[in-house]
Amino acid sequence: MAKPNKRRKIIIFSVIGLVLAALTLLAVFKKRAPLITVQTEKVSRHSLTNIVVANGKIQPVLQVTISPEVSGEIIELPVKEGQHVTKGDLLVKINPDIYIAATNQAMAGYESSLATRASATANLEKAEADFDRNQELFNRKLLSESDFIAFKSARDVAKAQLDSANDQVNVSRANLDSAREQLERTTIVSPLDGTVSRLNSQVGERVLGTVQNAGTEIMVISDMNHMEARVDVGEMDVVGIKPGQTARLEVDAFKDRKFAGVVTNVASSSKDSNSPQGYSSGNSQSQEATKFQVRIRLLDKEDFRPGMSVSADIETSYRTNALTVPLASVTTRSVAPKKMIDPPGAGGTNATATTNLAASKTSVTNAASSGTNVLPSGTNAMASAAKGKEAAKPTDVVFIVKGDHVEAVPVKIGICDDSYWEITDGLTNGEEIVSGGYRAISRDLQDGSKIKKGVATAETAKP
């Protein structure tokens, strides 16, 4: 009885022992990798419109600042802010008293110069008559030489005095013209049809003229019929913006409406470089992003006011039926090239990049073509070390689904919109790629990582 029991126990414990041993061996030698949950999509074709978003203000296309050329007190200001004016309408009248007096003074001076010239003319005539008469006497030896020279000199002096009087008349006339000009400038009329968009001064205010100063800005007149959006674009995006490109504008004051526009001007220099020193005082300006002003003419008419905030979507480039992947699919990894150098004449995306290197280092080609892990000796060691550094350079990749794992494929990207990247090289239409979650693509996934397809979660899906 004891023997069958003992045999049974041996069998039972043997089976248990075998099972445990087998499981232990499996556990020790089986390679495990965490399964990363991902979402997938297929590479597809879409039409893309690359959009640059910029913010700015609405301003009139034509906007004139009215500043007086002469200084004085404003005695008439018949316009109000917001009033429409036409070309030639009186805008400002400055007290002309000083300038009237100056004009009168100039007139008196001019008349005096005229009188002086008349007197000089009469003197010259007398001197010439005396000279002519005494010259004849001198010729007959009836007049001494000294007396003759005296009459001659008197004539010359009279001539010179006439010339001086003429010059003085010209000077006086110029002074008179200048005084009259200054007087005229005390009345300012509108140079264009428009609206007084800003009125800075009032009647009684003393204003400075622009002759030797910056001048007081009395008012601004704007042509409200033609408005434009002046937006600031970053230096990375401005290179793609050109006059003629269309834009969709959204004005804060007119929500739920989009306005059409066209780019008319792209600044040649940044807003910072327009300051006299090249940059503004203090360190804060140097830390701000460099912006370029772009002007977009608004094609739609609306009750726009200068200074309204606007957001513009500028369509910089288009692609029709381009190969695309979702934005989240593209990330950067340090991807080592599969082969160091391709044999001459071989195809593949690596041929161009690597054969150039091979042309300058021919001895490396032989060593590298035999295997990716071969390290050539001697003088080629540095070339291989440089290649190793090249291989580690981060590049744009997309993860292609290969069964239960992924493969990191370097890609070349083109333009993008708010949903897709254009792929110009590296993928083919219909390939299944990883499109989410954000954490998996940006951090967890590597070439060869094992995956499982799952539902997107808020944490894994958000960028």
Partner: protein
Amino acid sequence: MDPVQPIPEPQSVTAPAPVNSLPGRLLNVIAAPGELFDEIKASPASVANWLVPVLLFAIIGVISVCIMFTQPAIQQTIRDQQVKALDKRVQQGKMTQAQEDQALQVMDKFMGPKMLAVFGSFGVVTNSFISVFWWALVLWLCGRWFLKARFDYLKAAEVAGLSSVIMTLGMVIGTLLCVIVGRLNAGPSLALLVTDFDLSNRVHLLLGAANAIYFWHTAILAIGLAKLSGASTARAMLVVFAYWVLIELLFIAVGLGQWTL
């Protein structure tokens, strides 16, 4: 006169089999549970009969927990489950996305593998003691109510304690399977067939409950009850298995199914 008949030798009463050593008892619960529980019934109460197996279960449990939480695949699974649970709360409006992000940061910082191993170890040690006394109570009540038998509670504890050796073996097997498969709930059960085990899925929990070790353990307990109560093994099996099935279904129904795994 008849010859004197020799006085018959008194028949020697078959003495019970010699009491096994403690290691022998621990092994016999696997190989010959009936004999073991006969021995337990006849012998005086012994604390070692339940304390040693419980301690063994606790130690093996701590080692298992430490091994499992060092596996990258299991850490990733736990992370995915945490994220999923928080996402559900966000979708239900019980917390905001910002609160979820904060909670995940706290989890990453304070609930890493080491902390999970600490908490898991504490849980397994506590569970080992509670489980034995709970099953002892169940056996004692089943014997009293259903089998109309009276036996000492400590005897039931000895039966439950020794039966926990099966659970210890199950824990070793389960840990090895978790490491091999790379999933947290990969025990010797039908849940091995499920690739994406979901703790909130009742079907998955039922499959997880269909565990060979649980069946074995329950059968051993039933044999122990039968020996202690003197009832038939079949009747004891019926009572104990009925209790086990009901408690499993109850836990799964009220959303506590993960505690049955």
